[in-house]
Every structure is written in structure tokens, then in C-alpha cells.
């Protein structure tokens, strides 16, 4: 049977991708950001996941204003990098896992999640920046990736509680998959940031750390945070953090905090990064 053994939570700031792609990774501004992932690169290279379920949000790239799915699972064989206005990022095409993705889709729909199935999709910085941070620049991404796109752009996003429960359903789906596969789930986006209006540039370190603390504990405090609190305390784009709850919901109640990194600023954003392993998991 397949198993979700750990979660990787990480911001997916587009400027990180631009810095990497334009050879600025050793600039004084960017070096601390990339250095913050040295441990993580080693950790995931040793863990060797077979599949990553990558929870992210599309930033008006694959989906335009004509269609806004709350939860969209990528079941395609591959997902090319999107052209977000400056040409596609020079990163490998993401190779999916159509059979496992379809199994997951079936399982969570039967569990009464109202999924949208996607059989063709370009993936934007929300999905590719976390891969760059965790894997650098390989010729091919080292494992199969199942994208799960969550609407956090147009109000209302799914509630934190719904996201948490989807995580639980994903876990059941993975554990009912007959092949022995090691799965890691990524929750991306966040942390505090606001990209618009006179309040742009808002950062709330204390709140962000409390959120990380809650996830590293049982997550129940984070799960109950209402939309208005994300907006008020973490900025209009801080709502992306509900996606971390999907990843947390997919883990054991008890987890081990393996690594934490927090850095300000990253363009307009507080970069947060947290690796959790299931308490029940031993390498």
C-alpha cells in the first residue's frame, strides 16, 4: 500500500523562481533564501519519495476568469510550465501519475469531496518554485507529481476545516492504493503577505510563528482560523496558508518537526518552510 510519510510546507514566491532562473541565487539578497533549503534538499534526497502530492494554487494561469474550481486534481500524464507573461520557466515538465491520481480522485469523490478532475493543465510558479527550492535544477524532477490546485484567489476559498478534512480523505485515498509507494505531500503558499493596496507589504512574524507552532503540534488551532483572521492578520494573500492545512490533515495527529526556516523579506512576502514527518514513520 502507498503511504504519506511527511509534509513539506513552503512559500512559493514567484521572485524566487525569477532569481534562480536569472542566475541571481548567490546575490546577497537571495543567498540566505536558498541556503535555508540546504537541509531540506538533503532530507528529501535521502527520503526519495516516489510521488509528491503538490497542493498549490493556480495564480490565474491555468484557469482564467471563466472557470474557478475549488479543488482541482491533475490527472494528466504531464504538466508543462505555464507562460505567466515572461515566457515559461526553464524547468522540467512535471510528470504526473494518471493512474494514482485517478484513484485518488475516485476515492475522495466517493468520500463526498466535490473534486474537479483536470486532464490538461499548465502549472505556474505556485507549483514549480517549491520544486526548485527542494530539488534545485535537475534535468528531470526526481519523482512523479500529482498537482492539487486550490482556489484561494477569488473569495470564498475553501474553509480551513474543509481543507483539513480533504487532507484526511487524501490520506485514505493514498492508503487504499495497492502499490507500495512513498508519498510526500507539499502544502505551498503563504506566509503573511499582501500584494495589493495601501497596506501592501504587511508582514506578521508573530502570527506566522504561531501558525507554524500549531502545525508542528496537533494543528487544531490552525484548522479553526476563519478567513477574516487570515486577511486581517496576514494580508490579503495570506489566505494561501489554508493549503498547508490540507498537507497537515493528511498526516498523523502526532508529527515530528524535522526542520523550520523563516525569512523576511522575500520580495513582498514572509517566506516560511516547515518539514513534518509522521510520528509513526521511521526511515
Amino acid at each position: 500500500m502507498a503511504n504519506i510519510v511527511a509534509s513539506v510546507n513552503v512559500s512559493h514566491v514567484p521572485a524566487i523562481g525569477a532569481a534562480w532562473d536569472n542566475g541571481k541565487k548567490n546575490d546577497p539578497y537571495w543567498q540566505p533564501v536558498f541556503d535555508g533549503f540546504d537541509f531540506s534538499k538533503k532530507w528529501i534526497a535521502e527520503l526519495k519519495p516516489d510521488v509528491i502530492i503538490l497542493v498549490y494554487n493556480d495564480h490565474a494561469s491555468a484557469f482564467d476568469a471563466t472557470i474557478i474550481p475549488t479543488f482541482a486534481l491533475g490527472c494528466a500524464p504531464e504538466f508543462p510550465p505555464a507562460d505567466e507573461g515572461w515566457g515559461p520557466r526553464p524547468v522540467p515538465t512535471v510528470i504526473g501519475h494518471p493512474v494514482m491520481a485517478s484513484h485518488i480522485a475516485q476515492s475522495v469523490i466517493l468520500d463526498e469531496f466535490d473534486l474537479t478532475i483536470i486532464n490538461r493543465m499548465d502549472v505556474d510558479h505556485g507549483l514549480t518554485v517549491p520544486l526548485t527550492l527542494m530539488f534545485g535544477q535537475p534535468a528531470e524532477w526526481p519523482c512523479r507529481i500529482i498537482p492539487l490546485a486550490v482556489n484561494v484567489v477569488q473569495f470564498p476559498p475553501p474553509t480551513g476545516n474543509r481543507c483539513w478534512n480533504l487532507g484526511k480523505a487524501l490520506r485514505r485515498a493514498v492508503e487504499s492504493y495497492p502499490e507500495d509507494l512513498r508519498v510526500v505531500i507539499f502544502g505551498t503558499g503563504g506566509m503573511s503577505h499582501q500584494l495589493q493596496g495601501p497596506r501592501a507589504g504587511l508582514i506578521n512574524k508573530e502570527w506566522d510563528q504561531q501558525f507554524l507552532d500549531s502545525l508542528a503540534a496537533d494543528g487544531q488551532t490552525a484548522r479553526a482560523i476563519p478567513f477574516i483572521e487570515y486577511v486581517r492578520e496576514t494580508g490579503s494573500e495570506g489566505i494561501e496558508m489554508v493549503m498547508w492545512l490540507i498537507a497537515r490533515g493528511a498526516l498523523d495527529d502526532k508529527v515530528r518537526e524535522v526542520y523550520r526556516f523563516y525569512h523576511v523579506p522575500c520580495s513582498n512576502t514572509a517566506l516560511g518552510h516547515l518539514i513534518l514527518e509522521n510520528a509513526s514513520f521511521s526511515k
Binding site: P14, A15, A18, H59, A60, S61, D64, A65, T66, A82, D83, E84, G85, W86, G87, V153, Q154, F155, P156, S192, Q194, L195, Q196, G197, P198, R199, A200, G201, L202, I203, N204, K205, E206, W207, F227, I228, V231, R232, E233, G235, S236, E237, V264, P265, S267, N268, A270
Partner: protein, 141 residues
């Protein structure tokens, strides 16, 4: 039909958050063509066509005069107010070779240098920025 411009259901507490526009369904309707125009810039050939003659290119979308002016003048805050969403708008400012930080700074009343320095200093603090009453107390708009 009902008035499409006034939000009938204020999100509990949201209207008290200062300096922030909620991109909800009514905003999305208002800015539909602004955002769809931006999406068109995800293709290199459309970017070239737009750059060659912005006014002509914009005629493909039934924009309001205000929206048209805001786009041509790159008034990002105004585009947000007229229903644009920052992730859609990013296709326009990426076409211009501008960054999220550049565009965010223009909406704050700070210079680019001031904004960049604020971020280096840890960002805009949350204290004093939670509510409209806090803004009024310190005389911000």
C-alpha cells in the same frame, strides 16, 4: 436585475480591514474583461501585438472608459478598484518587465526605495494596521 456594484453581503468584519480590496464574485464580475485581457498576455504573440498598439489591442475587450484609462496609465491601484485582481494583473506587469514588488510599492504611496527598505526592515508591521480605526487614530487615510 439587482444592483451589481454594491456587495449585498458584507463579509463579517472584512470592511474594517484597512487598505485592502476583497476579490469576491462581485469584483470579479466588475473586472471580468480587465482580467480576461490580462490573461491574453500569456501568449507571446499577443504580448507583441499589445506592445505594438496598446489602444487598438484593448478594443477587443468591452472595457469601461475608466478601466481602459487605468490600464493604459498603468494605474495599478485603480485597476484593483475596478475589479482587477493582482494575479491577473501580473500578466500585464510581467509583459512590462515589472515585478510584484514594483507594482505593490506603487499602491502604497511610498517610493520604490522606501518600500524596498520597509521590506528589508521586516515589512509593514501588523500593529497599527489591523483595522480602519487604527489607521484613523494615526491619521492615515
Amino acid at each position: 436585475m439587482s444592483d451589481d456594484t454594491v456587495r449585498k453581503e458584507p463579509i463579517e468584519g472584512f470592511d474594517d480591514v484597512p487598505g485592502t480590496t476583497l476579490f469576491d464574485a462581485q469584483r470579479a464580475r466588475q473586472g471580468y474583461h480587465v482580467n480576461m485581457f490580462c490573461m491574453s498576455l500569456m501568449k507571446a504573440e499577443n504580448r507583441a501585438e499589445f506592445k505594438a498598439d496598446e489602444e487598438k489591442y484593448l478594443r477587443k475587450w468591452p472595457l469601461t472608459e475608466e478601466q481602459r484609462k487605468a490600464i493604459l496609465g498603468r494605474n495599478w491601484q485603480r485597476m484593483i478598484e475596478l475589479g482587477g485582481n493582482i494575479y491577473y494583473l501580473s500578466k500585464l506587469f510581467s509583459t512590462d518587465g515589472k515585478s510584484f514588488q514594483y507594482v505593490a510599492a506603487t499602491m502604497t504611496g511610498l517610493t520604490q526605495e522606501q518600500y524596498a527598505q520597509m521590506m528589508l526592515d521586516g515589512g509593514r508591521p501588523i500593529d497599527g494596521n489591523r483595522s480602519k480605526s487604527e489607521w484613523q487614530a494615526r491619521g492615515s487615510k
